[in-house]
Symmetry: C2
Subunit: 202 residues, 2 copies
């Protein structure tokens, strides 16, 4: 039977890069027009290729969407891990997550799928993505709870500020344009400042 190791590293790497290009094109198209309004021809057009070429890398349209989701979820989970490694106080950790989440929404746009609806995903993929989002939300909630316990934050139902924070950041996908004047890290700092100050004790 054929094994993966039979193809040369060079070929594998080339294919990996091509997949990334396709994913990036799909991401941008989905972000601008939404999943359903985006045709495979639109995505292919951005790559100077016909839509059928895409099938060499992804089995169907939904797979493109799913891959976009996984990519962005990995980003924010990595950020949570970083925050826990590098910082101790809840405010510092939360600020880091906010700044980095803003960054992936603006610098690379790779965070955009966090703002996508999950309804277009296949049921199994949808469940997985929702679970991963829940885990992210849970991590933020935990930070806020620790901040409250430590006396950094006012005692509130942590669910509410988590939704507010994620909404504020994910909404960036709607209005942000790379040509505009607002960019991370400045935007990230201001968001972190505003949203965390809203939690802080007087």
């Amino acid at each position: 039977m054929a094994t993966a190791s039979q193809v040369s590293p060079h070929i594998r790497e080339k294919r990996r890069r091509r997949r990334a290009q396709i994913l990036s094109a799909a991401l941008r198209a989905f972000r601008e027009q939404g999943y359903h309004a985006t045709t495979l021809e639109h995505i292919a057009e951005r790559l100077g290729v016909r839509k059928t070429a895409l099938y060499h890398y992804f089995p169907d349209k939904e797979a493109l969407l799913y891959a976009c989701h996984l990519e962005s979820l990995a980003q924010v989970h990595r950020t949570v891990a970083e925050a826990r490694e590098r910082f101790t106080t809840a405010s510092e950790q939360l600020a880091h997550v906010i700044r980095e989440h803003v960054r992936v929404m603006t610098d690379t746009l790779e965070g955009s799928p966090l703002a996508f609806e999950t309804t277009a995903l296949a049921p199994a993929h949808q469940a997985e993505v929702i679970a991963s989002r829940d885990a992210y939300e849970h991590a933020l909630r935990e930070m806020i709870e620790r901040g409250i316990a430590a006396g950094e934050f006012r005692p509130v139902d942590p669910k509410v500020p988590v939704f507010a924070i994620l909404g504020a950041i994910n909404w960036i996908a709607r209005w942000y344009r790379p040509e505009g004047s607002l960019h991370a890290p400045e935007l990230g700092n201001q968001f972190a400042d505003h949203l965390i100050h809203g939690l802080a004790c007087r």
Copy 2:
């Protein structure tokens, strides 16, 4: 030529109510599955009717979307006017707008279209909706600027908190379910508290 006054008030009222029913069904469908994923048959199904019946009230699918947008925009603009009439300080006005915006996102769901993308609208309609959204954003920006001038708020670029506030609130359309535990006005109060406290001077 036929004039509107030839049909009886009763008929006009009945038709008006039917339109509202259809719009409400469309709104909920769009909110749950997105515009493109929603078929006219879906909307009709909620009303116990066939899709072709809808064409008696709206010329096409896009008209449904457009009407949804107009409805919700009218709501928030009304709220801004109310805030200016009833309150004087920037914090009070802003708090009122936030609470009411949260309310239309949860109580009636009629605010949901504020969270819809505008790309599915016909160009002319899109331009109009975007202009109306801009006016709403501008009103919020103005409140924040006045709050800064009055010393209520810290001096910041007002654009940033406006985006944060609108994102936090509009994001409600994504996670809010009427069966859940969080509801306006409690949710509205907490959002107003969190988001305005984030602007306040220490």
